[in-house]
Symmetry: C2
Subunit: 350 residues, 2 copies
Amino acid sequence: MINSSKKISMKDIADELNLSITTVSFVVNGKSEEKSISPATVKKVNDLIEKRGFNPNSAARLLRTGKSKTIGLIVEDIGNYFFANIAKTVGKAAHKNGYSVILSSTENNDATARELINKMKNSSVDGFIITATHGLFKEIAKLKKENVPFVLLDRIMPGIETNHVILDNYSGGVQLTTHLVNNGYSKIGLVSVVSQMSNVIGRENGFLEAMRAAKLKVPAKTILKFPFGESRLDTIAAIKRYLANNPNLEAVFFTTNDLGVLGIEAIQESNLKIPMDIAVVSFDDNDLFRLLNPSITVAAQPIREIGTRAIELLIKLINGEPEMDEMTGVTIKPTIIIRNSSPKKILQRR
Amino acid sequence: MINSSKKISMKDIADELNLSITTVSFVVNGKSEEKSISPATVKKVNDLIEKRGFNPNSAARLLRTGKSKTIGLIVEDIGNYFFANIAKTVGKAAHKNGYSVILSSTENNDATARELINKMKNSSVDGFIITATHGLFKEIAKLKKENVPFVLLDRIMPGIETNHVILDNYSGGVQLTTHLVNNGYSKIGLVSVVSQMSNVIGRENGFLEAMRAAKLKVPAKTILKFPFGESRLDTIAAIKRYLANNPNLEAVFFTTNDLGVLGIEAIQESNLKIPMDIAVVSFDDNDLFRLLNPSITVAAQPIREIGTRAIELLIKLINGEPEMDEMTGVTIKPTIIIRNSSPKKILQRR
DNA sequence: CTGAAAGCGCTTACAG
DNA sequence: CTGAAAGCGCTTACAG
């Protein structure tokens, strides 16, 4: 293919100006002061760069310097409201600091996550923000051992001390549950996801602990858990069955955004009314929870803050600011938003 | 910094095995057959690679070959449901084909978009999927002239023929409006976004044409438009004022997902009931529209199909499959989902 | 104030 | 069946 508009290099600029590549490189990299390049030369170079539309080849630069000015963002599911907005926040801050971001979803699959980390590692990202999956222990340990800058987001890896930015899931679980208890509900079900990750465990333990503190029972059949990636339809059907099998349940606690949405769908399809027939609380917030009638009580995550703290921490790590062996853990409090799906229990029909 | 776990290179492998880098490179790149490397050698090399955890340096490879195996995805707003799911679909397909994706949002800002394209260009992405902004004519024209593989998503650039995957926005606008008309609504307002981009124009023209065909008037004050990036609160306040100023409006057509959500919020805050006080239709679908009571009639975009077609087309372009000067345009039909926000008009209170 | 040259880690045409 | 060597486009220590 004849490419008339061939990419232009520093050599082209240097040749045309009868200068050395060195000099061009100095002005391109803003070192003209430091290297005392004459203002006249600087101007000539800059003018020609402008005219020719020269852009330094980042592969060459990366190969030479080892700095890609790229960060790897690995999330569970970019289609999810929470992670999409994490990506938005991280992306903005990254660009402000001159970084690009390579993004990928793990779909909570260990093999995918491993592959992503390896791939990004040898495409030389300068650092990672990672939403870990359960089986990622070895990879995370390796990143740490290799001094790769990274911060864990949303969940930590039990057994490894790492930089991280997470939510206080336990507290959210306790608060949401206690709120239900205080409003008079005692038969409270839990709909969650099969996971050994710290975020889910935290929410579940918060629920369990609050129930225990209130001396309330949690029979096994009032706990429903889904494997990640269960289809929408199957999930709804299972929740409907669960509701039918637990006719005297007074309230349900959904531990995730996605589950909350499908739970509401299942409740509607079961012709149950919130909160008359069943009260509802959920983790995470979204448009549906806010605008549904009745609106849904939630433990909202301060998404912007989480994203911002993560990228700021990562950039510091990349710049070697904190001592490498000193870990920074940030835990952010959820915002409990009491809405209309969990009022004081007066009477329920079921 | 002492880095005990220094990155291992082909040279290390070659030296340890008393082979040349050439041979190692051949087996790494699966050319052992073609170059008739002895099976014994291949095994030795592969074993050591495994043992040492060698990964080829992609910067070096890129510098040499010019292929980065990375695609650039530029969307309007990754926080938006539509684009988040486009990113998800594109990411999956990309990985399946061995590509990474660099992602960024333009926030509908020309300068940002320009910057992103330039940055990605010199970080040598193999191709682009771009949600264009209005002022991007020059850049798009340049990409085309330089034979950079790219496909425009969601909206085309008037005046340049390019590969693209878009929705039939006009048809969606016509269908949604005609549906309202057929159900007896005549005073129908339009809430849209200030934009000269083809997608918005298409939806608006569809609305206008359907109204004209039905011989219905569209007074100026029943049209409300927002600049991109208007704050949530300001938008809601403006829609409330609009509703108050148009007390005899019978229905509203929202041209985007985000506007539809905020519109519903404004309607709720105005103590108006859908559809009794005002009927509603919107472009795009989401959890809220599906589960709200009443559920909202929409023109849904087949997101997966759009994303899949875009990435498939791009990969073909990167592989030079279609003739470079032959453009492929894909237009996908929206799915009209009639729900409860736009029933046959019996009586309205306002 | 400016330049010649080494080297980052690969791929590949050529040689044997 | 395997290897020596050039070169991709930069950055930077060193020299003058």
